[in-house]
Structure formats: C-alpha cells, structure tokens
C-alpha cells in the first residue's frame, strides 16, 4: 500500500500521525516527529512502512514513535521508540538492533579553545594513538573470558574498581554504567570471544571521537548546572558494544525466530524475532542484552581512560582533569513505568536510534541534575555540529525519548560516488577541522552530504518539547581509531 502525506493527521507542527485504522494489523497509531518539510522526505525509504510494522507488535502501548532522524533499518526504522507492556507484551532483539547500547559519552575540560588550540594537533594525534579502532593495528589487549564475564556483569563499575576511572564516572552515567539484571551466562562463548580484544576500541562506520568546543549556549542556567561554558573544550565519544553486542543479537535472533513461531506470534518481518517478555527465551535475551549494554559502558569508560592518558601526556600530569558530563545509550531496552489510561504501567521501552531523555526530578538521573533534567548527547555527522540537550516533562509523550543524531539520507555507495575521501578531508581541513584517520577510505561514506541536517533534526525535538537545546558543540578535531 502506498503511503503519502495524505495518510497523516497533523497533531501539531512537529508531530504527525497515521491512525490505527490505516492497516488492520496496527495495534496503536504510528507517530512521527518531523517538520512539514521533513515529512515530504520520509517517503524516500522504507522508514514509514517499517514504523507501521512496529505498531503491530503485541503489547505496544499508545503509539509506535519515530524521531526526526529516522531512516530505514530492519524490523523497525532507526529512530524508533516502542513501549511494550510487561508482562503481556513481547521483547524484540530486532527492535533494538545489533549495536546494543551504542551511545555517547561527553568529557568536559576546564579549558577554553584559546588555551588548547596550540596543543590541538598533538592532542588529536595522541588520542588517535591511544584509542584503536579494533579492526587492525593499534593496541592489542586480549582479556580472559573470566575478565569478560566480570565486565558483562559489572559494566563501568568493574573498570572503575580496577583504576580505569573515577567514582564520579559511575554517577555520571545512565544506570550507573551497570544494569543489575545482566547475566554473563546468557551470553554465548562466541560473543565473549568477539569481545575479548575490543574493550576500549572505537569500531568503524559512524563511530568517532571528536575534540569540540562549545560554540553556543542556549540556556545559561542549565549549561551552568551541566558545567558547560562558551568556548569550552569538550571531547565526545560515540561507540557501542562492538562485536560482542552484535553477536548477542545474532545469537538471539537465531533462537528467537523459530521460538516466535512456537509462541504463535505473527509479525510482518521475521527480523523482529520477538517472544513474550516473560518467556524463558525473552528473559534470557533481556539478561544478555543487559550484559552487552554493560560491556558497551565499559568500552566507553576504557576509551575515556585512554583519552585522559593522552590529555595528560600532552598537557602535563598536573593539568586539570577531564570530567564526565554524562554517558547515555541510544540503542537499548529498559523497564520503565508510565501512566497509561490512568494506570501506572510497566513497559519495556525499546529504543533503536533514540536517546532516553528523563525530565527534572526523575529518580533515575544523578542528584546533581535533578533540578534541571538529564543531559542528552546528540552527535552530528562528521564535521558538523553536535548538541547537548536536556530532558523535559513534555517528553513523556514520547516515553521520555528524543533523537539520536543526524540520520542517514544517502547510501554509502551513493556518498562515495559523489565525493572522494580526500575531498571530504580537505573540506573539513578548509573549515579548520583537524582530521586524524589512518586512511581516507571510508571517510567518504560518512560525508556530511549523506546525512540529514543535524540543526533541523534538533530543532524539531526542541520545538516538539521532547528535549530542549542547552549547548551547540562544533568539532575542532575528528579522530577515527588506528
């Protein structure tokens, strides 16, 4: 069935709905947070049919939601939020994706651009040397399976205990960097093997490190509470659970696709691979997913440790340290409670390319952010701006979720046909951005032309009230691992 703009009901300037009546198997309406201009563009790929498929999931509550950075994925689109009732509903590895707990961490310095500028090139070089991609050369540490098990169940906490971070790093992390229902025995030996040499590795694709400066402050009071100031140097980390998380998803899809048939669950795409939340398979996956999420937090923690090492080696042992603003996932399933039809209801919120954004006063955010709300970290495409936002009360309409980045609009091949890696590097250098990558191969794939405009995406979630702009960050150095 062809879907057009006419099938959407306008809820407000930034929210559009396809009613439940559109397709017989929909259990809830499908809602997209976009401007009218962006709505014209969502039909270029399969995002909307995939979102409608998401609206058919057993147990889904209120709406299947897509964020303005949505693009086609598998099962649901990237940019999806679905809250599924516990215990009657399902859990779906496909609806959270392979890169479990892909997410962001932001480190703050006490320095301004002016103070760091003379050291910038050296700093970028040193960071690149310290943080490997994990795909080739670079640091090779192979942990034992026993150590991997401890990381799977301990997350950030395990690393901090071993001296790879500060107590505050735990506090300034979603869930304290550890989901306590993780169970290492739910993770296969294949997944653990893939993870043995990848703690502290960046990966490839859109994963990156950036030295950035705070270019603009939108809300002084909240920026102040976050410890952000104009021209401040910050460092952004974007990566996830690497091969370990990918393997966890692969393993569970394999067992859950046949299990889905046994449970008589019918969904439009087998990649959903969903089973009842409370089934043995569902519970085991939920524990394995939590373990992979803990691994991802440990991975970002280790990268932060390497960056701090580089920071000290360039600026001196006595330099003021890098502190963590926050660390937050954008691919994860969490149990949360919402008021639905007047009743407090526990749901498994599936976020796939969507960032949790809790409001002020929410018990799950650090005490120091209680009065303002949770910091939300939104990366732009390579070389473009990134944002720090804050969670709001109005965000409840989207189960306290917001966008996760710019969102692709062009295939990697198309991007490579249009520009070369050298051209992209040159364009960034012309803007005064230092690029540290071991080769320009792969850089063209991530060219800004392949992505939506991050400023527009963020403006939509800001105007829709899902999260509010606090600060705009612009890159000074882009670093891809060696």
């Amino acid at each position: 069935m062809t879907i057009t703009k006419q099938n959407f009901k306008k809820i407000n300037d930034f929210l559009w709905e396809i009613p439940k009546s559109f397709r017989q198997d929909m259990k809830v309406p499908a809602r997209v947070y976009v401007s009218e201009k962006m709505l014209e563009e969502v039909f270029r790929d399969e995002s909307i049919p995939q979102l409608i498929n998401g609206a058919t999931l057993p147990g889904i509550q209120k709406y299947a939601i897509a964020m303005p950075d949505m693009h086609e994925g598998y099962s649901v689109p990237i940019g999806f939020v679905g809250a599924i009732k516990i215990p009657d509903g399902i859990i779906s590895p496909g609806a959270t994706g392979f890169d479990i707990n892909c997410g962001m961490k932001l480190l703050k310095s006490n320095y301004s651009e002016k103070e760091i500028r003379p050291h910038l090139d050296k700093l970028a070089t040193e960071i690149q040397k310290e943080v490997p991609s994990g795909l080739g050369r670079g640091r090779q540490i192979k942990l034992s399976i026993g150590e991997i098990d401890k990381i799977l169940e301990g997350g950030t906490k395990r690393l901090v205990e071993q001296g790879y971070g500060e107590k505050e790093d735990i506090e300034n992390c979603e869930a304290g960097g550890r989901l306590d229902w993780a169970d290492a025995s739910a993770v296969s030996s294949y997944a653990k093997n893939r993870g043995r040499d990848q703690v502290g590795t960046l990966g490839s694709g859109n994963h990156f490190l950036e030295v950035q400066k705070v270019a603009e402050i939108f809300d002084e009071k909240i920026a102040n509470a976050f410890g952000l100031f104009k021209d401040q140097i910050v460092i952004m980390i974007h990566t996830g659970s690497r091969g370990l998380g990918h393997q966890v998803c692969t393993d569970y899809l394999r067992t859950m696709i046949p299990a889905m048939q046994r449970y008589g669950i019918k969904v439009p795409d087998r990649e959903f691979a969903c089973v009842p939340f409370n089934s043995p398979e569902g519970q085991r996956y939920f524990s394995a997913m939590a373990s992979a999420a803990n691994y991802a937090w440990a991975n970002r923690q280790m990268i932060a440790y390497f960056i701090r090492k580089a920071w000290k080696s360039v600026l001196g042992e006595k330099t003021s340290p890098l502190t963590v603003l926050y660390d937050v996932a954008h691919n994860i399933i969490k149990k949360e409670k919402y008021l639905i039809d007047g009743k407090e209801t526990e749901v498994a919120v599936h976020r796939k390319g969507a960032t949790r954004a809790f409001p002020p006063g929410h018990p799950e955010i650090p005490e120091k952010y209680q009065s303002v709300g949770q910091p939300v970290l939104i990366p732009g495409s390579m070389g473009t701006a990134s944002y720090v936002l804050v969670g709001t009360k109005e965000g409840e309409a989207a189960f306290f979720s917001t966008c996760h980045g710019a969102g692709r609009t062009m295939s990697r091949h198309e991007a490579m046909r249009r520009v070369s890696g050298q051209e992209v590097v040159k364009e960034l250098e012309d803007k005064g951005i230092i690029v540290k990558c071991w080769s320009s191969r792969g850089i063209a794939e991530e060219a800004p032309i392949a992505y939506k405009d991050i400023d527009e995406v963020v403006q939509v979630v800001h105007n829709a009230g899902l999260s509010k702009k606090v600060a705009k960050l612009i890159p000074l150095a882009v670093i891809k691992g060696e």
Partner: protein
C-alpha cells in the same frame, strides 16, 4: 557470470549474489561479504577452518553460514575466499574454509540480518539470493 552485486540501501549493505548451483551461490555471497570487509591481507599466511552449520531452511542456512564465517573472520582476523563443501543439504553444511591472515579490515560488518531475505532458483535454473548486512 557476475558473482555478486551491491544494491542500493540507505544505511546498510545489501548484496545480491548469483550461482549456477546452491553451493556456488553460497560461495559468491561469501565473496561479497569478505570483499566488503575490505581486508588488507598479509602475504603468505594461509589458514584453514572447519565449520558445521544447521538451520531450519535453505535461506536461513545461508544467513547462519555467513554469520559463522563473519565470527571466524573477526575473532581470527582472517578473510576467507575459498570453500570446500563436505556436506551440503537444505538445512545443513559441513565445510572447510580457506583464507588468509588479515592486517586490518577497512570496514566493520556488524551482523548478517534475516531482513527481507530472498533465496530462489530462477527459471533458467540459476540461483540468486539477497542478503542485508548491518554495517
């Protein structure tokens, strides 16, 4: 005959592979995946791995086979371009994989998906499959 081709996809890697036989189809899809890991191989170091895969049907067997090879590639830092099938049925494969040690991969394939998986024998008897890889 073309071994495989890349189809347009906004964010992931979609490969259509061809084969005169099912075995050749599996091999050509393996080529497609291995080539897209963009390996820089080390000279001289040849390796051999044994695999055994079971699945519910031929199409999922292809995905599960590729997932196994991807796992071996990443854990052993090897790229595979040759295969000797010792057993090949609709639901089961036993084979030897031949490859080379890799200096680095220039692309990370996260996983092989079952999304819109297609595998068919065409009227001319040739085989064709489409697989989406998450990258």
């Amino acid at each position: 005959m073309k071994k495989f081709e890349i189809l347009e996809h906004v964010s992931d890697l979609k490969i259509r592979a061809f084969g005169r036989t099912k075995e050749e189809l599996f091999l050509n899809m393996l080529f497609g995946m291995s080539e897209n890991l963009k390996p820089e191989t080390k000279d001289g170091e040849k390796t051999k791995r044994e695999i055994k895969i079971k699945s519910n049907e031929l199409s999922t067997l292809l995905v599960d086979f590729l997932s196994e090879v991807l796992y071996l590639s990443q854990v052993n830092k090897e790229a595979y371009f040759e295969i000797n099938f010792k057993k090949f049925s609709e639901t089961e494969i036993e084979a030897e994989l031949f490859g080379q040690k890799v200096e680095r991969f220039n692309e990370d394939i996260k996983a092989v998906t079952y999304h819109k998986l297609e595998l068919k024998q065409k009227e001319d008897g040739f085989w064709e499959a489409i697989v989406l890889f998450d990258i």
